[in-house]
């Protein structure tokens, strides 16, 4: 789900598990998308640190 909501930030590794693609701070332009990835993750696997 995260890879659909915020494809610039989330993708999958070689075995198909979700992973974060970028390091450091999330650019402001992507904040809304990342929030949507967080609020739609059924596994509650995403934590946003502000």
């Amino acid at each position: 789900m995260c890879a659909i909501a915020a494809p610039d930030v989330f993708g999958s590794d070689e075995i198909g598990n979700a992973k974060v693609l970028i390091t450091g701070e999330i650019p402001a332009a992507l904040h809304a998308k990342v929030r949507r990835a967080e609020s739609n993750c059924p596994e509650r696997a995403i934590t946003i640190i502000e």
């Binding site: 659909i4 999958s12 075995i15 198909g16 609020s39 739609n40 059924p42 596994e43």
Partner: protein, 402 residues
């Protein structure tokens, strides 16, 4: 009298997931249980089962895979003879696997279903949807379930498996036998045998003539700890691709079509605002979650006050959890831009649907393609729509006019 013919006395102590009214519209029954003093219902029918209906309970059970095992995953006991004979060891890994084997069973198939991997199927899916619409667009009427939805996942999966599209009718019949008409245990066993025997033939032909870029050939050649995977695993994954990949997604597409036929405002929103698609697909899948899976209790345990015994069956009512007002505001309402949507239509935890990205793609492309060519349509007669239910819920006849 069989279990399905007795009238239901009380949903919390005597529910019947194959009751004809419940199959048609299970949501009032789920709500009745969820909002009662007894949100985990129990029935003696079909050798007994528990039915958790609240979101938190369903998620907790899904996460506790050591207590709630996947030794059996159907909502009814196995068909007679299923655990005997040469095919007894063929399951549907990783759905039917428990740790430790579950780990490699799942790991080997996940990459095939990653978002970037399934994206390659989008153009082909769009083409096949257009070809289906070509067949009926001039008639002004169509069965959105049996002329459209039903044909989409089976063709996508056949393509993925590298088997001929001419098998469509057989695959459809076998999958219905395995998942829909499961109170007929003879048909269920026959369907399972047909699936395994068909794929034994496919495996043998590839053993003689390996193919390039071929799902089954690659699966056969996969090694785990230096050894080729057992043939039962290869056959099991092929079985999984059919039973988990066809009826489920076809049901979801069918329910979405049924919904859109009755909601011009949603058709309009989707036509005018294509950015809605990602949230809209999630929302429709939440509201019309097609699948209910089962777990088998490993050891005696009291769960939320319910005395569950080793061997008991627990039905993971994902459709009920997805409409729990404790988790979703206005849960029965379709809100195409819903922002908080941690739905469990694809399950949760280690058995979370491996094919969810493919399913999402198929649902989105099926709806987009239809709406592009048939922007306005409606049900001909709402009362003539027929449904499958139990393990998989979705319309089977759904006539629309345009």
């Amino acid at each position: 009298m069989t279990d399905t013919q007795k009238p239901v006395k009380d949903m919390t102590t005597d529910y019947d997931i194959f009751d004809p009214e419940f199959i048609k519209n299970p949501y009032p029954g789920y709500t009745e249980i969820r909002e009662s003093q007894c949100p985990i219902a129990h029935t003696e029918r079909y050798e007994g089962s528990w039915l958790p209906t609240r979101y938190d309970d369903v998620v907790a059970i899904a996460q506790e895979y050591e207590t709630f095992t996947s030794r059996q995953i159907l909502v009814m006991p196995p068909a007679a003879g299923r655990s005997e004979g040469p095919y007894a060891a063929v399951g549907a890994p990783p759905i039917t696997s428990d740790p430790p084997d579950h780990h490699w069973h799942r790991r080997l198939i996940l990459p095939v279903f990653a978002p970037q991997a399934v994206a390659q199927y989008e153009p082909g899916t769009r083409d096949l949807c257009n070809a289906l619409i070509d067949e009926f667009i001039d008639k002004g009427i169509a069965d959105a379930a049996s002329d459209y939805a039903q044909h989409i996942p089976v063709r996508v999966i056949s393509k993925m498996l590298g088997v001929p599209l001419t098998m469509e009718d057989e695959f459809t019949d076998w999958v219905r036998g395995a998942l829909e008409n499961i109170t007929d245990s003879e048909r269920r066993m026959k369907s399972f045998r047909s699936i395994v025997e068909y794929f034994i033939g496919e495996v043998q032909s590839r053993a003689a003539n390996p193919r390039e870029n071929d799902f089954i050939t690659e699966l056969m050649n996969t090694e785990v700890e230096g050894k080729k995977v057992p043939i039962e695993y290869v056959l099991g994954v092929c079985n999984l691709m059919l039973v988990a990949g066809i009826d489920t997604t076809w049901s979801a597409i069918g329910s979405c079509m049924w919904h859109l036929a009755q909601h011009p405002e949603h058709r309009k929103q989707l036509r005018e605002n294509p950015d809605l698609w990602p949230t809209a697909v999630e929302e429709l899948i939440r509201v019309y979650a097609p699948v209910t899976m089962a777990r088998i209790v490993d050891h005696d345990i009291e769960f939320q006050g319910c005395p569950m015994k080793a061997g008991d069956r627990v039905l993971m009512a994902f459709p009920a959890a997805n409409r729990d007002p404790r988790q979703f505001e206005n849960p029965d309402e379709v809100i195409l831009d819903r922002q908080n949507n941690r739905h469990v239509a694809f399950g949760s935890g280690i058995h979370r649907c491996a094919g969810s990205n493919l399913a999402r793609l198929e649902v989105r492309v099926a709806l987009q393609t239809w709406l592009a060519r048939i922007p306005e349509f409606e049900l001909i007669d709402p009362s003539s729509v027929t449904w499958a239910g139990g393990q998989v819920h979705g319309p089977r006849k759904c006539m629309v006019k345009f």
